[in-house]
């Protein structure tokens, strides 16, 4: 176990260094003088000089990277040029909104994907299996921003049941908060549910054909006990760990979902930053999501080791 952890950490560190290269390298893609690009259309000489000084653009690229990295490891992701606030503070401010959306979306994905995958595997080759596969394919092929628009059209414009956009913090009213978040959570969870369904089906099919399940059936256990107690326990291991890996997909989806439903989260922060040429914020958001993804990958590996006794030994 210890050797495994050390080996995994030895892989994570160079990966993080390369992530930092990629994110720092993004700035080099700006055509022409970065200070001019960031200053926008105003081209105020003082603003340009300020940007040049803040980003140390007159220094060699290796030195700029070293300064940037030194800031990052101390939690300093830079200053937002537009809002004049530390990027780390902005990220922390928006993170709870996106985390709530992501958690609710994951709940939707688990509640739809796992039962559907189990049903599809247990009734393999039946109409249920066919139907579940069609629903999964539908989930994988529907762009979530279009699904969001269609749901607004139905539930907000036509039926008037749910608010079309906006966000209410839970402290200001849990009912209003849930009403505002239920559609975005469904939209975001929909595609993950399809992935979950496919993973669950595949894991269950593998387990259902194993000897110990056959033994459980042979000794006369009820089918419900065979599936719930014996088959699902083993099939759930890869499904749960794969769920953690879907985090990246959730964050990508959150960008569009938050845009459609005007939710002031992480995704909206990066889109607004893109249009305001607030590149420090863009870099900060990408760095945070990539680091979180690497950390979750690591935790998923540990969880996989902990729940699977064969790997532990």
């Amino acid at each position: 176990m210890m050797t495994f952890l050390v080996r995994r950490l030895a892989i994570i560190l160079p990966t993080l260094v390369f992530v930092s290269f990629i994110i720092f390298g993004l700035q080099q893609l700006l055509p022409g003088d970065p200070a001019l690009a960031m200053a926008g259309e105003e081209r105020d000489p003082d603003a340009i000089a300020h940007i040049r000084k803040t980003l140390r653009l007159d220094e060699p690229i290796a030195m700029r990277y070293a300064y940037w990295m030194a800031g990052v490891v101390q939690g300093d992701l830079g200053i937002s040029l537009r809002i004049q606030k530390p990027v780390g503070e902005l990220v922390l401010q928006k993170l709870p909104v996106t985390l709530q959306l992501a958690a609710m979306a994951m709940l939707v994905a688990l509640l739809i994907g796992i039962p559907m995958g189990m049903l599809s595997a247990v009734k393999n080759g039946s109409a249920w299996d066919y139907g579940a596969n069609v629903i999964a394919l539908w989930g994988l092929s529907t762009p979530n921003f279009w699904l969001g628009i269609m749901m607004i059209l139905l539930f907000s414009v036509e039926l008037g049941w749910l608010p079309a956009s906006g966000y209410v913090p839970p402290a200001e009213g849990l009912g209003a908060n849930l009403a505002a978040m239920v559609m975005p959570a469904f939209v975001l969870g929909n595609a993950i549910a399809a992935v979950m369904m496919r993973h669950t089906r595949s894991a269950m099919l593998q387990v259902l054909s194993s000897d110990y399940v056959r033994t459980a059936r042979a000794k006369g256990l009820y089918e419900r006990a065979v599936i719930g107690k014996h088959a699902w326990r083993n099939a759930s291991i890869p499904v749960i760990t794969l769920g953690a890996l879907e985090f990246g997909q959730l964050l990508s989806g959150a960008v569009l979902t938050e845009q459609v439903f005007s939710i002031p989260g992480f995704g909206k922060l990066i889109v607004d930053a893109v249009f305001n040429r607030d590149y420090a914020v863009v870099q900060g958001v990408v760095l945070c999501t990539a680091s979180a993804y690497i950390l979750l990958n690591f935790l998923a590996d540990i969880a996989y080791m902990l729940v699977n006794p064969r790997l532990r030994s």
């Binding site: 992530v19 279009w146 059209l153 079309a164 930053a273 990408v286």
Partner: protein, 294 residues
């Protein structure tokens, strides 16, 4: 030659090539056939857009602003009187072009790197894989948004951004395939007879890693079409007034109460083309991967 041996020769069953056998398995799958037909249909629509579009996609008509679908405008008109059907037809060009070119970029970068990493192994493999892991750690769309933001908003830059973001999948896949193929007997034999490394890699290993890459390319095309629509929806892809399904949806969301048709058709087009690529990709995987065969 005796009559008996002639009969034996003519009666011998013709042996199909692996590609032909895979094609036969593919066309036995109804989903893949339907997906393939719809993809071909969309390609035809994109190619024939100048001839089949009923109106100029950029032509405004202030007397026909936000008109519901009718005999004149089958899909209705948008907020400045442009024909939605014409824009959906022309939008197919941007979407399919983005799908195909992004995947071509991803394969053109990913395949040589994967081939090199898998074939050489050792330190170079470790280095290239850590770089690939770093790219995979950045969520696909977020990396594409960041790249498109720094490169500047345009369809070309969106395609480059999507292509670069999709590259690590192809590096990983081709490297894994190369690692499996390079220890096969026929590669050992090629090495034993003194072939140089470049010839073994290109003539013996490469042809055997292509089938899974084709499957991945089909499925990634679907993802790239959604990504292009997403970037255009956010204003980072195709720029107005050029038609794109994503940018049409971006405008349509502001007129849901007054003109819902503006949102229905472009979204349906994205859904149909992505579904078709997914069906085709699933069918190809089943036809090419022995583990998925019935």
């Amino acid at each position: 030659m005796s009559a008996a041996s002639e009969t034996a020769l003519t009666a011998a069953p013709a042996v199909d090539s692996p590609a032909r056998r895979a094609f036969k398995r593919l066309i036995r799958r109804k989903g893949a056939v339907v997906g393939g037909i719809v993809v071909i249909l969309f390609v035809a629509i994109a190619l024939l857009a100048p001839w089949i579009a009923p109106f100029d996609p950029a032509a405004t008509d202030w007397s026909a602003v936000r008109k519901a679908p009718s005999a004149r405008h089958w899909f209705g008109t948008d907020e400045i009187g442009r024909d939605v059907l014409a824009r959906v037809i022309w939008g197919a060009r941007a979407s399919l072009m983005a799908g195909v070119i992004s995947v071509a970029i991803a394969m053109a970068i990913g395949l040589p790197i994967g081939l090199l990493a898998g074939y050489r192994g050792g330190f170079l493999d470790g280095l290239l894989m850590r770089m690939t892991d770093a790219m995979l750690a950045c969520p696909f769309l977020i990396l594409a948004i960041a790249l498109a933001a720094f490169l500047g908003p345009s369809l070309t830059n969106a395609m480059i951004a999507i292509g670069i973001s999709a590259t690590p999948i192809f590096i990983r896949l081709s490297r894994g395939q190369v690692q499996a193929v390079k220890v096969e007997d026929f590669v050992e034999a090629a090495r034993a007879v003194g072939n140089p490394h470049w010839r073994i890699a290109l003539s013996h290993v490469l042809p055997n890693v292509v089938p899974p890459l084709m499957v991945q390319a089909t499925l990634t095309t679907a993802a790239a079409i959604i990504a292009e629509a997403s970037l255009s929806f956010l204003g980072l892809g195709q720029q107005p007034p050029a038609p794109s399904w994503g940018s049409m949806l971006n405008v349509a969301k502001n007129f849901l109460g007054q003109a819902p048709w503006m949102a229905v058709w472009p979204g349906l087009a994205i859904f149909l083309v992505v579904l078709s690529f997914n069906l085709l990709g699933d069918g190809l995987r089943d036809a090419l991967d022995p583990r998925h065969r019935d």
